[in-house]
């Protein structure tokens, strides 16, 4: 009985999170890889986005991108372009598409897809080196993506 209640609660939470949003496999990308509407159905929070961007266990975007607006974050990477001013020359729709699945915008790019759950070769269970069990979670949740996009929009020259 307890187990059923727990599973049910789990389903309800997962369902609730996406009630107004869109699941990773259902995202519609435009011609240039842009995504029109919020993935979660809610607004993004730029402060949370800044944290996700900078934290290793979250987006870890700084491992590849440098941003001058984050002087407190050490060891910013060089694999991707520096993102100063990106909120000025890219729209929120474009940025949402790039964070969700950059391959839709930049064919073959090194940048991982953060809101995607299928089509991987030998997906692992996090960083354990073991095979993933059960359905995969995206690296970032729908709301995480919105938060990161909100943070990127604050990067204006």
């Amino acid at each position: 009985m307890k187990l059923t209640a727990l599973t049910l609660a789990g389903v309800l939470v997962a369902g609730a999170a996406l009630a107004n949003g869109v699941a990773p496999d259902e995202v519609t990308y435009g011609e240039y890889g842009e995504v029109e509407a919020s993935l979660s159905g809610a607004e993004g929070n730029a402060d949370k986005g800044r944290e996700i961007f900078s934290t290793k266990s979250m987006g870890n975007c700084v491992s590849c991108h440098a941003v001058s607006a984050l002087p407190d974050v050490p060891f910013q990477g060089e694999v991707g372009p520096m993102l100063d001013g990106v909120g000025g020359y890219r729209s929120a729709e474009e940025l949402r598409g790039i964070v969700a699945n950059a391959k839709m915008t930049f064919e073959g790019t090194v940048m991982p897809a953060f809101y995607k759950t299928s089509g991987f070769i030998r997906p692992g269970d996090g960083y354990t080196g073991k095979a993933a069990e059960g359905p995969l979670e995206p690296i970032l949740s729908a709301q995480d993506v919105e938060d990161v996009v909100a943070f990127l929009m604050t990067l204006q020259d």
């Binding site: 910013q76 060089e78 991987f120 030998r122 690296i139």
Partner: protein
């Protein structure tokens, strides 16, 4: 060029210089024990056409302190394990009451061997890594138990065999009967594994010289293996390194000694053809 343009050019240089210093391989020269100069940069083998022009040892991507440790055998912690390897070389083991020395004499007799492995073994009909060959000797000629792949014993011996080949160019054969395995390894090298969908090439071919967080990406060459890592304070085999790199793509990785990693070792070793054997090396 007039004075004005010269100053402008100099100013530009000053601006871009720090960025250049951050990336890329340095121009230092690796001389071990003030005596043995190691070729750490070489023209890429023809099979790398369109991929790399120059092959570069991982040594060029480490900081000066780490580099210096490899320049003197007394400062290179990897050499302690070479000494242990010498003891193992002389140890009589197994039902035949033989040691490596019984058949091969001094370890120096093995100079040049490390440089051509992995290598096709005609009799066995398989590509063998050095560790596979060591174990074949143990089982077939000594009547001794094989060593576990990348275990301390196996790595000590690999380090000894590397050390006597230092300064000799890697020259791994990729044609003939080895070709099939080599193709498999090549395919793996360009496969984008895991939830991060990253291949070896994404990091070590497209981005060597760039920082990924605090890590300065090298070409991921294995001419310098086994390698003593400051991070785990032990000697590491190439398969252990492959395992870690694939794990870091959030993938289900492969095991040391697996046919997949034997193929990958053959392929990655061949990417280093022309670089000198450098192991045991020091890395962070």
């Amino acid at each position: 060029m007039n004075f004005r343009t010269m100053t402008a050019a100099a100013a530009m240089l000053a601006l871009t210089a720090p960025m250049l210093a951050a990336g890329g391989a340095d121009d230092d020269t690796l001389i071990i024990n003030e005596d043995l100069e190691i070729t750490t940069k070489a023209a890429a083998a023809p099979h790398l056409d369109g991929h790399l022009d120059e092959v570069i040892s991982g040594w060029h991507f480490r900081d000066d302190d780490t580099q210096a440790m490899e320049m003197d055998d007394f400062d290179n912690p990897g050499m302690i394990f070479v000494d242990q390897g010498i003891d193992q070389w002389n140890a009589v083991e197994g039902s035949e009451e033989k040691s490596c020395a019984s058949c091969h004499g001094e370890p120096e007799e093995m100079a040049g061997v490390k440089a051509v492995y992995p290598k096709w073994n005609e009799e066995a009909g398989e590509v063998r890594t050095l560790q596979m060959q060591m174990n074949a000797c143990r089982e077939e000629r000594m009547g001794a138990e094989p060593w576990k792949y990348d275990s301390a014993d196996a790595i000590n011996m690999e380090a000894l065999l590397a050390s006597v080949s230092r300064g000799m160019p890697v020259n791994v054969a990729i044609d003939g009967p080895a070709a099939e395995m080599w193709e498999k390894g090549k395919e793996m090298y360009y496969t984008r594994y895991g939830v991060l969908e990253l291949s070896c090439a994404n990091c070590h071919e497209q981005n060597y010289g760039n920082y990924i967080r605090a890590d300065h990406l090298s070409q991921g060459q294995i001419n310098a293996f086994p390698t003593y890592r400051l991070k785990n304070a032990k000697l590491n085999g190439s398969h252990d390194r492959f395992k870690g790199c694939i794990r870091d793509t959030r993938a289900e990785t492969f095991s040391p000694g697996s046919p997949e990693f034997v193929a990958l070792e053959l392929y990655v070793a061949s990417r280093g053809n022309g670089l000198d054997v450098e192991g045991p090396s020091v890395r962070n």
